[in-house]
């Protein structure tokens, strides 16, 4: 694999030419916030938090779906990017009913910690307070769309890793929602293998183990790399 050299935040960085800007930046020690991205799943470019500035490109690019190029000049931390990132997290918080105080993932949630990290101490937009029913029909897991950010990690892990494709997305814009078994109740969806991978990759409390109470849910993300490295590379991280 050929190697290219690019500049990230004034630092010269080398990366394999099939890498994304996000991977190259993280390898070089730069932190870029993400929510829909998860190592092991196909990049989606959905949450837009990983937006970066690239010299010569008028618009901002999602670094998780932008391939590195020779001579590219990238900025990952500018005031403009910071303002947009804050705005995006605020819009996510305003769109559904994210009430951290009564959430199963309180204290372990990626959205909650990212909001704190970015300095979102209040939301400047009107809360939409949608009326979304919770699906507790599954024997093991519960889906609460009130806490969903539509990152589609669950859909991707169900399709790409478990191979079941029980989960999918339906509707557009504000009507967009995660569905199970072609929009049946989760408990009736025969394509669900009850493996629970979707629950483990979910960044918020939208998918959780049935019976979890406030702040009780913690998720194991390492399992994904463990499975994928074992399956594809025959490398087993026994010590992890």
């Amino acid at each position: 694999m050929p190697v290219v050299t690019l500049t990230i935040n004034d630092k010269l960085v080398s990366a394999q030419s099939d890498k994304t800007v996000l991977e190259a930046a993280r390898d070089a020690g730069f932190e870029i916030p993400t929510l829909c991205h998860l190592e092991g799943l196909t990049p989606r470019g959905g949450c837009r938090l990983c937006l970066v500035e690239v010299e010569g490109v008028p618009r901002l690019l999602a670094s998780c779906v932008t391939q590195v190029q020779e001579g590219m000049v990238v900025r990952t931390e500018t005031e403009r990017l910071h303002n947009y990132r804050k705005m995006m997290v605020e819009l996510l918080l305003a769109e559904r009913n994210h009430v951290c105080a009564v959430c199963v993932m309180n204290g372990h949630c990626e959205l909650q910690s990212l909001a704190a990290k970015l300095g979102v101490d209040h939301v400047r937009y009107d809360y939409l307070c949608p009326d979304l029913p919770v699906d507790a029909s599954h024997e093991r897991n519960t889906r609460d769309p009130n806490r969903c950010i539509l990152c589609a990690r669950c859909i991707r892990v169900c399709d790409e890793v478990e191979g079941a494709h029980c989960l999918d997305m339906m509707g557009r814009g504000i009507h967009c929602n995660i569905i199970t078994g072609m929009n049946q109740e989760w408990g009736k969806a025969r394509s669900c293998t009850a493996c629970g991978k979707c629950v483990q990759v979910c960044p918020t409390g939208a998918l959780f183990k049935k019976g979890s109470s406030v702040a009780e849910m913690e998720k194991q993300r390492e399992f994904l790399i463990w499975i994928l490295d074992g399956r594809d590379k025959k490398v087993w991280h026994w010590s992890r």
Binding site: L93, N97, H98, V99, C100, A101, V102, C103, N106, G107, C109, Q112, S113, A115, A116, K117, G119, D121, H122, V123, D126, Y127, C129, P130, D131
Partner: protein, 185 residues
């Protein structure tokens, strides 16, 4: 931050649509409350029985969401009479738990609780119009009614958070909480 004769900051706390947990957390700063009282004069608080919000307050901590007509009126009064207003806790900052009712219609909630519940329902609207405040159709955060100077999230804000914010403020510095002290929930 004060130029008062007694050298003390005039501090007020108010309680809107919330559970009083933020006030409990304020009391939970333990013996440091003695240090606090040396620095401030508490001029209004639901913990003491003071009827009227006083004039010329330096700092007001507002706990709770804006859920009814009284809260709107009091919030405006507080803003007019306070130099610094702090949204104190998640309900004031986001609406939090009280805002969970926002997906429901107010008249249906009242019907369910008072009409359908045990006991005699109020017969006419006029009967309690002057007594009971009118519920807003949506529970909203404080900053949607009045400008807020400082946001102190948390449900409740941890005593350490409150202490860090208050001491920074009383020493005249900006209130810049570290990330682990500014999360919701």
């Amino acid at each position: 931050m004060t130029t008062r004769q007694n050298g003390k900051v005039r501090l007020a706390t108010a309680w809107f649509g919330g559970c009083a947990g933020c006030h409990m957390s304020l009391l939970d700063i333990d013996e440091r409350i003695i240090d606090l009282v040396k620095l401030v004069e508490v001029v209004y608080t639901p913990i003491a029985d003071i009827k009227k919000f006083p004039e010329d307050v330096d700092v007001t901590l507002v706990e709770g969401s804006v859920a009814n007509s009284d809260h709107v009126r009091e919030a405006r009064d507080i803003r007019k009479k306070s130099k610094i207003v702090i949204a104190f806790g998640d309900c004031a900052v986001t609406g939090n738990v009280p805002a969970l009712r926002n997906r429901l219609q107010v008249d249906k909630i009242l019907e369910e609780v008072y009409g359908g519940g045990p006991g005699k329902p109020p017969s006419t609207e006029e009967q309690y119009a002057e007594v009971v405040p009118v519920l807003l159709s949506k529970v909203i955060p404080l900053h949607q009614i009045i400008p807020v100077d400082i946001f102190l999230p948390g449900c409740p804000p941890d005593p350490e958070r409150i202490w860090t914010a208050l001491t920074a403020l009383l020493q005249g510095g900006p209130v810049a909480l570290p990330p682990e002290m500014r999360s919701f929930g």
